[in-house]
């Protein structure tokens, strides 16, 4: 059974058309990540799924049941917000139990679920504290705990880590991955951090301007992008795009080469002048100019390359992607 099906979902605010014909499926137990640049409609899509906004048209099915007219609390979902959105006047325990009390769950059931969730998230020492007495990371865990206790069919996360610092972000990312494994629930996760997308997702949905650009597993999208946007969006440093004319005399198309597919080669086709070198220890990123196009090469290991140096890069032709003028991938 599919956990979520969207059929031609559209959403307009007045005459601003934000979501355009979104069609996608989330399988039971799947971890799906929505990525896309800021303002592309990721949060709006999540809110439409949650029922906080009504879709202008289209059909939303959760767990095989059409929910277009079902209020958020009855959709079998739980949502974790970017701003945590904890109830300031309730303790951690109160935050976690409120929804269950609203559902009139028996007391023993509520206590059991809170105990389980707080054990999972290491929240036991904080159960009687108020949100204002917690650190950012702890608040985030409470927000996740509040979602877990409801035992929803579908979890919705809206950029849950974007307020955390880098180290905490990595820990929490791993925690969320473990949680997904432990709960075996379907999750939808919005982010514009592509590391989060690549590492967490079973399936990535790339959005641009309210449209689905491509859906697939992280490696599918990485190795086989449908268009220039997806190719440029995934991968860090991002793919190099060069006009075909630069390499083979003529042509209108664009050639895309991933930074790690470039290598130093004395008779390579790309003559470049180094403008900046980033030495990361394990890798060396070389940013160079090929005529007036910036090119980034990611070389394995440590290299003694200096700014201003003249180099030639080569690449294997089967590793190059070709895109037409409209940005569509050519075979």
């Amino acid at each position: 059974m599919t956990a979520l099906t969207l059929n031609n979902v559209n959403k307009s605010f007045g005459n601003v058309h934000v979501l355009k014909d979104i069609t996608l499926e989330v399988e039971e137990g799947e971890f799906v990540v929505f990525v896309g640049p800021s303002g592309c409609g990721k949060s709006t899509l999540l809110r439409v799924i949650a029922g906080l906004e009504d879709a202008s048209s289209g059909e939303i099915n959760i767990g095989g049941q059409q929910v277009n007219l079902v209020p958020p609390s009855k959709r079998g979902i739980a949502m974790v917000f970017q701003s945590y959105a904890l109830y300031p006047h309730l303790s951690v325990r109160g935050n976690m139990t409120l929804a269950l009390k609203q559902e009139k769950q028996p007391k023993s059931e509520i206590e059991g679920r809170v105990a389980k969730a707080s054990r999972m998230l290491n929240l036991e020492p904080y159960l009687d504290r108020y949100p204002s007495e917690l650190s950012g990371g702890q608040r985030q865990r409470v927000a996740i705990g509040r979602a877990i206790v409801r035992e929803p069919k579908l979890f919705l996360f809206d950029e849950p880590l974007s307020n955390l610092d880098a180290a905490l972000r990595m820990n929490t990312r791993i925690e969320i991955a473990n949680l997904h494994r432990a709960l075996d629930a379907s999750m939808i996760y919005v982010t514009h951090d592509q590391t989060e997308a690549m590492t967490l997702a079973d399936k990535i949905v790339v959005l641009r301007d309210g449209r689905v650009e491509q859906i697939g597993s992280p490696m599918e999208l990485y190795n086989n992008p449908a268009n220039q946007f997806v190719a440029g969006f995934l991968g860090s440093p991002s793919m190099n795009f060069l006009p075909e004319a630069l390499i083979q005399e003529s042509g209108q198309n664009t050639i895309g080469i991933r930074p790690e597919d470039l290598f130093l080669s004395d008779d390579g086709p790309l003559a470049a002048r180094v403008s900046h070198v980033e030495k990361l220890g394990g890798d060396t990123n070389v940013i160079a100019k090929v005529q007036d196009h910036d090119v980034t090469a990611r070389l394995f290991g440590q290299h003694a390359i200096a700014e201003g140096q003249e180099l030639r890069f080569g690449y294997a032709s089967e590793k190059a992607y070709r895109f037409n003028e409209a940005g569509q991938r050519l075979a």
């Binding site: 949502m79 917000f81 959105a85 307020n163």
Partner: protein, 279 residues
């Protein structure tokens, strides 16, 4: 930024200014209080002197207690003020929430219409109000005053509160919706506590004009059993003779409840700051 606060010279200057302002603001109250405990002669001979064994007299308070039903006036004022404030806060907050939270046709027009009342003094409509009260038989009842004061306070309340409610995080309300809270619960349990400082501000702004008002009690409810404190005190101010002892004593007693209410609200003002609500 914090440097200025820690500089002792700045601290002294700042506190000096604040203390000076407090003294200036409290001086009239102080004069009223000390003079209310003095004999009539002492009031006029040395208005700024503290009462001493010679000049001390409770004559003012005795007159007030004897004349008219001072406690009834007091009770009337209290009922009118508290009831009006409750209605202003309740209806003002609900209207503000509707205007700030829900998109509906005429939302903007409705907001402007409600805000218009801020610019038009309600006293312009006194004659019409009186006619209405006569027609509905509410003249000489406390309801007349409560209704008028509620109407008078609502525009500013809606205006201020809707501005504050717009700032309450959408995520918080949405979290409540997902957790199955009704819109009323979201309003009363999540939004109201977060705008408590604004509510206190509105309450303080409305309380004092209502407590002190002479105009509407005189016109709408001058009967003995509905007199308010301010109206009741007027008996001591005559065209030719004014019983200053009584006036000052009545005023001293009238200040007290306002002071108590103010202390309650201003504590809310300070306490209501929400840290850690979101983020």
């Amino acid at each position: 930024m914090n440097k200025a606060r820690h500089n002792p010279l700045n601290m002294v200057a700042m506190h000096g200014a604040l203390i000076l302002y407090t003294l200036i603001a409290l001086f009239p109250v102080f004069v009223i209080l000390i003079n209310s405990f003095k004999s009539r002669r002492a009031i006029f001979r040395e208005p700024l002197a503290l009462p001493n064994a010679d000049s001390f007299s409770m004559i003012g308070y005795e007159t007030v207690m004897k004349q008219g039903d001072f406690f009834l006036y007091f009770q009337n004022s209290m009922i009118v003020t508290v009831a009006s404030l409750s209605f202003i806060l309740l209806f003002g907050a609900m209207a503000a929430y509707a205007l700030s939270e829900y998109q509906f046709k005429g939302n903007l027009i409705m907001g402007l219409y409600l805000a218009l009342g801020i610019m038009i003094p309600i006293r312009i409509g006194t004659v019409a109000i009186l006619e209405m009260m006569v027609a509905t038989g509410l003249v000489n009842s406390l309801w007349a005053l409560i209704l008028v004061y509620t109407a008078q306070g609502l525009p500013l309340a809606v205006f201020i509160l809707s501005e504050f409610m717009r700032q309450v995080s959408d995520d918080l309300k949405n979290a409540g919706r997902i957790d199955g809270l009704s819109e009323y619960t979201i309003f009363f349990r999540l939004v109201l506590p977060l705008v408590r400082p604004a509510m206190a501000t509105v309450a303080v702004f409305n309380m004092i004009p209502i407590w002190n008002d002479l105009w509407f009690p005189l016109i709408l409810a001058p009967a003995e059993e509905t007199k308010t404190l301010t109206l009741g005190s007027q008996v001591f101010i005559g065209q030719f003779v004014t019983d200053w002892n009584a006036v000052l004593s009545a005023l001293s007693m009238a200040i007290l409840p306002v002071l108590v209410l103010y202390v309650i609200f201003s504590r809310q003002l300070i306490r209501g700051i929400t840290s850690g609500a979101v983020k």
